[in-house]
Symmetry: C2
């Protein structure tokens, strides 16, 4: 068999040149003729009744074309959110500081902002509740009086049940020699996409809607906005969603927010295109961060260190409305039930409404929070049992061909190799100087799609032209992760052409076939699976043409070749004898007979130009739907992914006891990635994930004071920069997963997951303090060090 030409190769990302050269068009760069600018007026209270809205002054301002309030709202009953609790323009009351009270479309963004300032809103402030535990009490102020089905709410607990358990917990608790218990807290972390958010919404003359906006989920946005069209009385109209180049996503573009609906309603009211564009402050205030959690976890092991049970309960601060943040417990299930071999597990989670900012998906989707608790607790258990934390993890590591308590079918598993790699690369057992220590943490995560929607499928169309060039129309969304490069590598590999021959057409619901969106580390896995189908069918078609026309072409090409021997001609008529490599079609068994090679474009043109009915061109399409299960509605169990990723992060830190500063001396990220389709892209994802994890572990936190964000900018919200980098060794363990494309697993999210607990464990190893509250800022570390001394 031919060696891989492109799979496993370090090809530059296809979209890199246009990004580096400043030619990529982000939503900031895009305008449409005759466009208006929309601005949103937001609440100044965390919880208040809206008594009166006066737009009389605003509406007099020249250039104002539409003002949207509860009085002018063309879709007053329309709500968004996971349980449809969020009216894009608030009517009865505001429930958080960011709440959208009014919006203006004007000929100029300054005029729109001035008009917003002129809108007078009278509020009657209500007592707020900002702590999820307090909010869950029956006497707490109610944020929503009725749930999404119209039932009265008794406390602020969301009417969504999150629970999973397996095995006889009490039996295994009794069998445990050692048991540890602890409570771990995480806060709000913001995605900090370098490109801020925006939308251009416009209606055509048939009242179909077109929106341009960066999104991870164009087809779900289409669905969401079609619902608004229905609410606007535009029955049977449709939405076309086009996403420009996306300047970062990480989950904050996985849902629609109020601003998109507001832009559409303003465009509907004004009869013109409307653009809403966030600046950095509005990006912090108007988008939704990672969900804060309080997780109480108890784990046990037997005398040898084998895990016996895991019991955990999470309380999530849901904020005032629901987005995907309200569903992150579903992903917490994965590590809670399936990280290490645990015979009995029990996990519960409760999301509670507060008057804080509501939350969204963020890389890892609950897994970082859960893994922080699990892996911190694992270290405490190891200490209690007197076992080396690394050896304890080796002992309990997952194995291939096992089914976990959640029902996840592990088709391949390199966790043991990951742990051993960390051990070796960090020189784990070596003595360290004072205030230095090592820690590690592991992870498991979906790596082959995640069936959280009715379809986890991916649609693709392949079209080949007369020159052997391929257009791929894909549902895949490129958020910087490199999916289009992976697709091009796959198609080039399968057909036998070059990645440069491929144009990837994406981000347009009218042109590209359906895909559920870029999330859950699924995009490369599923789009490459579809690409294999499309490309294989295309190759078969080309070889079918070749079997018909190659003899003729070979004769033509060799007309003047005196050395040409025509003995192999009969072999040409069987497609099974032929193959393609580097744009050449030739006899598989005679690769050196260049006199028997024809370029692919020659054969494509022969197939096309037959001058009669049989003329054909190569077009194929595929819809790849992974062979997975939805979580069972009662047990929450099910094999939601075709494969699972594993990894171990090991870190050596030095803690300065005088300042509380934690320095990363060395970091090893060993990942079971199945197969690296492009090692450079895999490294990039892991580098990025680890650095985002460093931010989550050491610096990033949105500070809220009674619901108001105190640090909505990069001056006060700190993220790691190039100055914060350190030696980072990415080790790729190739387990060649039987379900993965070329054996690959999805690894888009995993880099962030175990960073915080690995650092927590290393800090403990360095200075003996156990930090349970993210992030580990200098202040917190210093306080803990002092506290320990005292």
């Amino acid at each position: 068999m031919r060696k891989n030409n492109f799979i496993g190769k370090r090809l530059a990302k296809m979209d890199a040149p246009e990004k580096i050269n400043g030619q990529a068009a982000y939503i900031n760069d895009i305008t449409v003729p005759n466009m208006l600018y929309g601005k949103i007026k937001r609440s100044e209270h965390a919880h208040a009744i809206i008594k009166n809205i006066d737009i009389s002054q605003a509406s007099k301002l020249p250039g104002v074309k539409a003002i949207l309030t509860r009085e002018t709202n063309p879709a007053p009953d329309f709500r968004i959110g996971f349980i449809q609790d969020n009216p894009p323009i608030k009517h009865d009351k505001v429930r958080q500081f960011r709440d959208e009270v009014a919006a203006v479309a004007a000929t100029d963004p300054e005029i729109a902002a001035a008009a917003c300032a002129l809108i007078k809103v009278d509020y009657e402030p209500l007592p707020g509740v900002f702590d999820p535990i307090a909010a869950a009490q029956e006497d707490a102020p109610l944020i929503h009086e009725f749930d999404f089905r119209g039932n009265p709410i008794k406390n602020n607990t969301l009417p969504v049940r999150w629970q999973i358990s397996d095995g006889d917990l009490e039996f295994y608790r009794r069998k445990s020699k050692y048991i540890v218990s602890g409570t771990y807290k995480t806060g709000w972390a913001h995605h900090c996409c370098l490109g801020t958010t925006g939308i251009i919404a416009e209606f055509d003359y048939q009242k179909n809607l077109k929106v341009q906006m960066p999104t991870q989920i164009p087809f779900l946005v289409q669905n969401d906005l079609n619902k608004l069209l229905n609410a606007l009385g535009l029955k049977n109209k449709n939405t076309r969603v086009i996403s420009p180049t996306i300047g970062g996503a990480f989950g904050n573009k996985l849902d629609t927010h109020c601003y998109e609906y507001i832009a559409v309603m303003l465009a509907f009211m004004a009869g013109r295109a409307v653009k809403i564009m966030f600046d950095r402050e509005e990006e912090f205030i108007g988008m939704a961060p990672r969900q804060p959690t309080i997780i109480k976890i108890t784990q046990g092991c037997d005398e040898n260190g084998r895990l016996t049970f895991r019991e955990a309960e999470a309380i999530l601060d849901n904020g005032a409305y629901t987005s995907w943040g309200a569903t992150v417990p579903s992903v917490m299930y994965v590590p809670m039930t399936s990280l290490y071999r645990v015979p009995a597990v029990d996990f519960k989670a409760t999301c509670v409404y507060t008057n804080n900012i509501f939350s969204q998906a963020f890389r890892g989707y609950g897994n970082p929070q859960a893994t922080f608790a699990i892996e911190s607790s694992m270290d405490e258990l190891a200490v209690k049992a007197g076992i080396d934390p690394l050896e304890m993890r080796l002992l309990n590591a997952n194995r291939a061909n096992e089914t976990t308590p959640m029902g996840l079918k592990i088709s391949s598993c390199g966790l043991k190799e990951c742990i051993e790699t960390v051990k070796e690369k960090l020189d784990w057992d070596k003595p360290r100087p004072q205030n230095r220590g090592v820690g590690l943490a592991c992870l498991t995560h979906v790596g082959g799609g995640a069936r959280i929607y009715k379809s986890d499928g991916h649609g693709m169309i392949l079209k080949m032209d007369d020159f052997g060039k391929v257009s791929i129309m894909t549902g895949a969304v490129e958020i910087g992760q490199g999916s289009e490069t992976s697709i091009a590598q796959t198609v080039a590999e399968i057909i036998g052409i070059m990645p440069d021959d491929i144009t990837v057409i994406r981000h347009d619901t009218a042109i590209c076939p359906w895909d559920v969106g870029t999330h859950a580390s699924r995009q490369m896995f599923l789009s490459c699976k579809a690409a294999i189908l499309c490309a294989s069918e295309a190759k078969a078609k080309i070889l079918e043409f070749a079997a018909t026309f190659m003899e003729d072409e070979i004769r033509k090409q060799n007309r003047k070749n005196e050395n040409f021997a025509d003995d192999l001609l009969p072999l040409l008529h069987n497609a099974a004898n032929l193959t393609i490599d580097q744009r050449q079609i030739y006899l598989k068994e005679y690769p050196k007979r260049t006199d028997y090679a024809v370029t692919i474009d020659t054969i494509l043109r022969r197939g096309h130009f037959q001058g009669g009915k049989s003329g054909e061109m190569v077009i194929t399409h595929a819809f790849y739907e992974p062979d997975t299960e939805m979580m069972h509605p009662k047990t929450s169990k099910g094999n939601i992914s075709e494969t699972y990723a594993f990894a171990t992060h090991g870190v050596e830190v030095e803690v300065d006891p005088e300042t509380g500063k934690v320095d990363i001396i060395n970091f090893v990220a060993a990942h079971d990635i199945g197969k690296a389709i492009n090692p450079m892209i895999v490294e990039g994802q892991i580098y990025g994930g680890v650095m985002q994890g460093i931010g989550y572990a050491l610096m990033e936190e949105m500070l809220l004071d009674k619901g108001k964000i105190l640090n909505p900018d990069f001056l006060d919200y700190k993220i790691p920069t190039m100055m914060d980098t350190f030696p980072l060794d990415v080790a790729m363990i190739e387990t060649l997963d039987p379900h993965g494309p070329f054996g690959a697993k999805g690894i888009g999210e995993v880099g962030i997951i175990p960073v915080a607990p690995a650092i927590a464990n290393a800090i403990y190893d360095a200075v003996g303090i156990r930090l349970k509250d993210l992030p580990f800022t200098c202040e917190k570390v210093l306080a803990a060090v002092k506290n320990k001394r005292e």
Copy 2:
């Protein structure tokens, strides 16, 4: 069977609102970031040796980024044209006034124009030749010294042979009772597209080329420009052709011209996007008009008026280079051999290089010129034979199921009905006042594609979303003719949805499947044929889903319906029992059982959201290649189209003997259109064609003085306006062609074809003068009237 919902209905064109409202983006409206502006410096001589080109002053001008001359030409050996005789930038000499001698790309169009003015070109003038008959003499100045194969040229006759004959001409000549002979002349007519021509060319970072330009042939442009990429050393690179909204075409966008290649070379040299945009004067000078012809024709008939033979010879003024103008004799074959039943035909044509402007395709492509000769001569023959011209045409009219001397297979023919309609509607036999008269002329033309290229095929992809909305990616080019509306009507009709449900994606070679281009009245015919294939397959797929899921959906929908009888449920499981109409799927035999109807989107989502491997979406594609023949390389015979259009135009005129002005009193255009998919669009095409024919007959002519165009503007080049309209009665004869989509024939070009001879014949009837030289300006008519008096 269900009645047609949309076929035969007068639906507004889908692109009308955006055009009417000024939102359609033409090439004039489009810019890309960092773009340069290109200008072309043209020859000031009709024929001259280029002695020297001095760019020293021009290159000093700030803002000039690239200057293209024969010295800087990055592809010096590259030539374009039907026989590759045209270097985009001229090197040895100029051969016409429009010749491209140099070009500049600059940051501003004024700077580019100023730089062009600063380029100094020294010429050595050569004697020019401007009359094709003189040019064909062996001692005429040679315009090209070598033909495209490098052979020396002896006279200016093109090395392309145009000849067709059938039947025993001499036998039938002897059998003729009456014979007439005459020579007919036509001149240069310009397309006068309201949108002038332009291009934006840019290279991406992989050195692939993207061009935005209005064109009728995106896929042939791709082919053409890929050849330039090869010449530029960019092997294996590709061109993406995107056409913005097209502001008229009529054939002038059927070929590439020098300016596209110049823009690409400037972009290549400057490393930036380059836009070239013509103003009206450059549009007249830089584009290519209809080919002028001199046709000598002889026809005979027997004593009863039955045609016996037709013999004709044409000389075409080719101008200095070849474009499609050099191939118009191939379309002259059709009327010359096949208009009326003629047992013996012989036609020859010679194209001759002159130092005049070269010519291009123009609506009808030689047929108007040929029909002017044939139908003028027919009237002369009728006069000579003493037969009414209309009766003579009835006698000789083509019939269905006959094969013509060229080998055209007439599958349906309404010519007799067309003639009779004119007779009736014009009240043919009624006595007229002095100076009034009636005339008629008929036509035949390709109506079901025209196999002039290796493939006459049309590719289409259909993609359906979860809401029952359809995207059609089509190779069809919309030049105003309404093909996208016809496609939408077809798809809606076949599937059972609404035309508004359909988005037509077009004009992008990277997204749309191949099509040879909008020409030869083929686009509606072929794209609707492909649409029928795509939509039928989609419908079958939907009904297959329905057969699986409908029982479940019907049960769900009727859960609370007490009157629901479940007796029909078993019928639902056979797709053959089901059909779709107006977005509803129901039992074919029980259309009134609304409790058994399900909306199409419901079933599409069921098909998609099956939660497992079998989830599918509806995507289909088709490549329709008509069952036709290339003209035989020796005999020129062959059935080049799947069907043929016929028509008769009858006109009543009044000639003012004092001024020579010809007034149209009444006009009847009776057309065999097979079937009107959209009668409003058919009427629009015929209205437009007739008015363009009026211009050709009465006013339009490009005046050249030794190769220089004297009237390159709308002040001096007159076209008909609303002030020139008259009662125009379009009669649509529906012959339901067995090959046509729903029976339709292509009719994009035909409206223009017989206008001039019908008017010529009416003028003869009115005042007894026979005009043989187009256009019939007042001056010419007046001169002829005076001449007759004297």
